[in-house]
Symmetry: C2
Subunit: 202 residues, 2 copies
């Protein structure tokens, strides 16, 4: 299956600004995207990166700096079935992505923490996306209004996107690929602060 | 399978203090525990509540106000296999809990967001728990050091415990039982703040 991986190559992961410098954010975002590309391949998918500008990522790529909704809606119109997997699912596993691919339904959604939609499979071109706000709720509504069969995948690893400093500890605790390696090489480790684990530099 | 559900009946959910009054925290914590009890039963488990003081929850119960580690270690010593499911997994589904029960391994862990261990099955009494700090990492280590076969369950619904105001939106977006009903009746709804969904009162 064609798997679209949208990637902000221009100013990635701005919400990690309190923790990472701009150059570090760029490097870490690329490490996450590389990991997602490998994971999608290991799950049997054909990754296709849609980046806001040219990148050196090892996958077929298109440059498209339009908003995410337009990019994904064009991908759905061009070909179904199609999957969309976000480039910051740093702890996604091949098993979780296979589960996404194999779950039946006209539309299969993998919710992200905080109301996002971190991955999906679309098998019917009557679906369209709306990534603004509580997108999981909007995507359920769009599927319902179009009379489409909707499924959801229950995966912590697909639900974990890495947007904020608090998310980094998940990568250290559960990741075993390039993003976890990058964080460790950058000096991050699990620290217990007020009884709660966080990712910090010594 | 016997399923131990530890429950703080004395001063529950203190970290929801910024959002809920003490009486509301008590009512909401009970709504979550009732939902977890029902979900465990629907998954074929035999729930047994261990509460810090007597409660009106509809399940066989023991009062035990010792620390969590002592309570769970005693349960493991008393009988294996045994499962432990936290009382605040407000969006857990029977399917996710069945998956936990059916996953093979001497120890099966369901990680929680932020390094916690939200549910487990223990089939070998050589295991013991350590819920302080990054417990998922400690539980992996305990299993490894005891030479036990370790598995993990990948579930967003088991990974979502409700500790902080930010967690409430998950209940509104993904829950369909007593906790979601309680929040709605208390006036909570999904609100979009700075582009991000949160649970707030109008």
């Amino acid at each position: 299956m064609r798997v679209v991986i949208p990637f902000d190559a221009t100013d990635p992961k701005t919400r990690l600004g309190p923790t990472l410098s701009p150059a570090e954010r760029d490097a870490f975002a690329h490490a996450m995207a590389r990991e997602v590309i490998e994971t999608v391949r290991a799950a049997g998918g054909d990754p296709h990166v849609v980046a806001t500008e040219a990148t050196a990522l090892d996958a077929p790529s298109t440059v498209d700096d339009r908003p995410l909704n337009a990019v994904v809606d064009d991908a759905i119109a061009a070909e179904t079935p199609v999957a969309v997997v976000m480039a910051d699912l740093a702890i996604a596993t091949p098993a979780a992505v296979e589960d996404l691919f194999e779950t039946p339904g006209d539309v299969v959604l993998a919710p992200g923490r905080g109301g996002g939609t971190n991955a999906m499979v679309v098998r019917d071109p009557a679906f369209h996306v709306d990534y603004h706000g509580a997108s999981i709720r909007d995507h359920r509504r769009v599927a319902r209004e179009a009379g489409l069969a909707l499924s959801e995948v229950d995966s912590f690893r697909l639900a974990t996107d890495v947007d904020e400093p608090d998310d980094l500890v998940e990568v250290l605790l559960h990741g075993d690929g390039a993003p976890a390696d990058w964080l460790r090489e950058a000096g991050f480790q699990v620290q217990i602060t007020d009884g709660r684990p966080t990712a910090g530099r010594a």
